[in-house]
């Protein structure tokens, strides 16, 4: 890993921990980001963390660009030795796979896809070497995912699956992005899954939808009353397949204000995870059974 620093115009410092994605790079980026936040450097106006990088926005009328970059570089050694452990939460997200709404959308934009003859799911299963879409979906939802970034649009989580790299699902993005994606669609692009928090453009392969809103600017959804954005970096997600009846039941419960997401507090320790992936994941998912 070789940390790279660059200016993004005259108001941003871009820090790339690694060119490739890994949880190690995520944790170093997170630690360095936290160190920069704790240093309370005058002129820093916002810090945006990403998967294996982060960006610091600063006011060059308050701090010179060279100085802010030097201050961040000074903190690098601290980040490298800090704990790769996170007090976080695991959340069960219901997903209705192969639903009619994302299916209608992906068929409407077929000419923008690598494989116009099939569905996104057929394509993703085939290029990842699965015999059936069922086997592919099993791999997708049986092991948890880690929220490594929140962004693109309002509250959209990027998720990285907690499995060995050779088991990571990877798919290309659409050749040309769709101009429409149903709100709360679940998709995957590169090695990242996402939940589209709002309706709009998108390039990820689609194969399901959740009935659970994750962004609510009106703050009327019961669990989004305190803050309109649900996800934070470091959250862990366990997908739970649901059928149409269950999807509609949850949707109605959300509307009635009676739906409560299943959430349990957990600790994620990267060294423990690397030493025993299956065991760590089993413990994480076990936490959901206790609630």
């Amino acid at each position: 890993m070789k940390t790279r620093y660059s200016f993004g115009g005259d108001e941003h410092v871009y820090v790339e921990i690694d060119e490739e994605m890994s949880l190690e790079a995520f944790f170093i980026a997170l630690s360095l980001r936290n160190a920069v936040a704790e240093a309370e450097i005058p002129g820093v106006t916002e810090i945006c963390p990403a998967n294996a990088s982060f960006e610091v926005r600063f006011d060059p009328d308050v701090i010179a660009p060279e100085e802010i970059m030097a201050r961040i570089k000074e903190l690098e050694h601290k980040a490298e030795v800090s704990d790769k452990r996170l007090e976080t939460r695991i959340i069960e997200i219901p997903v209705y796979f192969q639903d009619p709404w994302t299916h209608e959308t992906l068929m409407r934009f077929r000419e923008r896809h690598q494989d116009p003859t099939g569905s996104d799911l057929d394509y993703a299963a085939r290029i990842n070497g699965y015999d059936s879409v069922e086997a592919f979906l099993e791999a997708f939802h049986s092991q948890p995912w880690f929220v490594s970034m929140v962004g693109f649009v309002a509250g959209l989580p990027f998720l990285y699956q907690l499995v060995e790299r050779e088991k990571q699902i990877q798919v290309p993005k659409y050749l040309r992005p769709r101009t429409d994606t149903p709100k709360l669609s679940v998709g995957i692009g590169g090695c990242f899954a996402c939940i589209y928090s709002v309706r709009g453009a998108g390039g990820y392969q689609l194969f399901g939808i959740t009935p659970m809103p994750i962004y609510d600017p009106t703050q009327t959804v019961s669990y989004l009353k305190d803050f309109m954005v649900f996800f934070r970096p470091g959250d862990i997600v366990k997908w739970k397949p649901v059928d149409r009846a269950e999807y509609e039941r949850i949707e109605a419960a959300v509307a009635a204000g009676t739906y409560t997401p299943r959430i349990a507090p957990v600790t994620f320790d990267l060294d423990a995870f690397n030493a025993d992936i299956a065991g760590t994941n089993a413990n994480l998912m076990e936490a959901l059974n206790g609630i």
Binding site: S6, F7, G8, G9, D10, E11, H12, Y14, E16, D18, E19, E20, M21, S22, T45, E46, I47, C48, P49, A50, N51, A52, S53, F54, E55, R57, P60, D61, P65, M149, V150, G151, F152, V153, A154, G155, L156, F158, Y160, R165, Q168, Q170, P172, K173, P177, G189, G190, C191, F192, S197, V198, G200, Y215, P217, T218, M228, V229
Partner: protein, 322 residues
């Protein structure tokens, strides 16, 4: 006090100077694309420079007023009428109760800013009144204004009509030059491609909005060969999804550069080759489709000097209107 929307225009939104602090969650700063124009409009009517006004792109709205209101229009050049009588841009004038404010055809620029004495008084959303339509946040129910909307206006501090010495405004050269600081993933491009990016003439594409401005007409990008990093995706323009900044220039598929603007997406999987400097962001908000544009490479020192010049210009205007 309020005004009523008779015709909304093409896409007219409530904007102030934005809501910084939520980009890390994908909610952009937003606010007026041409911040200079909004600030001056507010100065003219005696508001705080960050008060909320209307931003109208390509076409003005038609508004009626329920009380005498001091109004200023800045930004793009567009004829202004109060009950059919012309009014000057970059000036403050009174619209009386019952009168109608409307606009003629756009002559130059892209966006007008309408300030109202007292400022638009819609509810704050995350500290700002700016409309972010993608996230249905701010403004009027998170959307552009629509016919029939009644928009509340705060308490005015003055009703004094006045105008501005236009010599205090920045001249715009043609073709428009957008100054760029290279960096970010600039190293992904071959030296020949880097030189061509600045040599080529580009034009503003029709896909130009508050999220970003797309340009076409220049040569496609040429990338330095490499094995794509894990998680990035297979296209040479792909990176492991990272942060985007305001003004950053991405080139999806290596084809057409997009400069992200006030309603930027906060991150994604395309490489960025640098960013338009902060002093030139306002200028982008006044570009019409098909406008010829050149990107000009500058150093950090030049970027900061341009920033200081912009600040000085605002200070002079503030002094002139104090």
């Amino acid at each position: 006090m309020a005004f009523k929307v008779v015709k909304p225009g093409l896409s007219t939104t409530v904007q102030d100077l934005g809501r910084p602090g939520y980009f890390h969650l994908g909610i952009p700063e937003g606010g007026a694309m041409d911040r200079f124009a909004l600030r001056v409009a507010n100065m003219l009517v005696g508001n705080d420079e960050g008060a909320a006004g209307l931003e109208a792109v390509f076409m003005g709205p038609e508004l009626t007023f329920d009380a005498d209101t001091l109004v200023a229009v800045t930004g793009a050049e567009m004829p202004i009428f109060v009950d059919g009588e012309p009014r000057e841009g970059w000036s403050a004038f009174v619209v009386k109760a019952g009168q109608t404010l409307r606009f003629g055809f756009l002559k130059a620029g892209a966006r007008i800013y309408i300030a109202f004495g007292g400022g638009i008084a819609t509810p704050l959303a995350l500290g700002s009144r700016s409309t972010y339509p993608i996230g249905a946040l701010g403004g009027i129910d998170g959307r552009a204004i629509a016919a029939g909307d009644v928009v509340p206006v705060g308490e005015a501090t003055t009703m004094t009509e006045r105008s501005l010495d236009r010599g205090l405004l920045a001249p715009v050269s043609v073709p428009v030059s957008l100054r760029v600081l290279t960096g970010l993933y600039w190293h992904r491009l071959t030296p020949a491609c880097q030189a061509r990016f600045f040599a080529d003439e580009w034009v503003v594409a029709p896909e130009a909005d508050r999220m970003g401005y797309r340009f076409r007409g220049g040569a496609p990008m040429e990338f330095v060969d490499r094995e794509q990093p894990f998680g990035a995706g297979s296209d040479p323009s792909n990176i492991v999804d990272g942060c985007y900044s305001y003004g950053s220039i991405q080139v999806p598929g290596g084809q057409e550069p997009i400069v992200l603007h006030r309603d930027a997406v906060s991150g994604g999987g395309y490489f960025t080759l640098g960013a338009v400097i902060s002093a030139d962001m306002d200028l982008i908000g006044q570009l019409q489709p098909n406008t010829k544009v050149r990107f000009t490479e500058v150093t950090m020192e030049e970027a900061l000097a341009a920033r200081a010049a912009r600040r000085d210009r605002l200070a002079k205007l503030r002094a002139a209107l104090a």
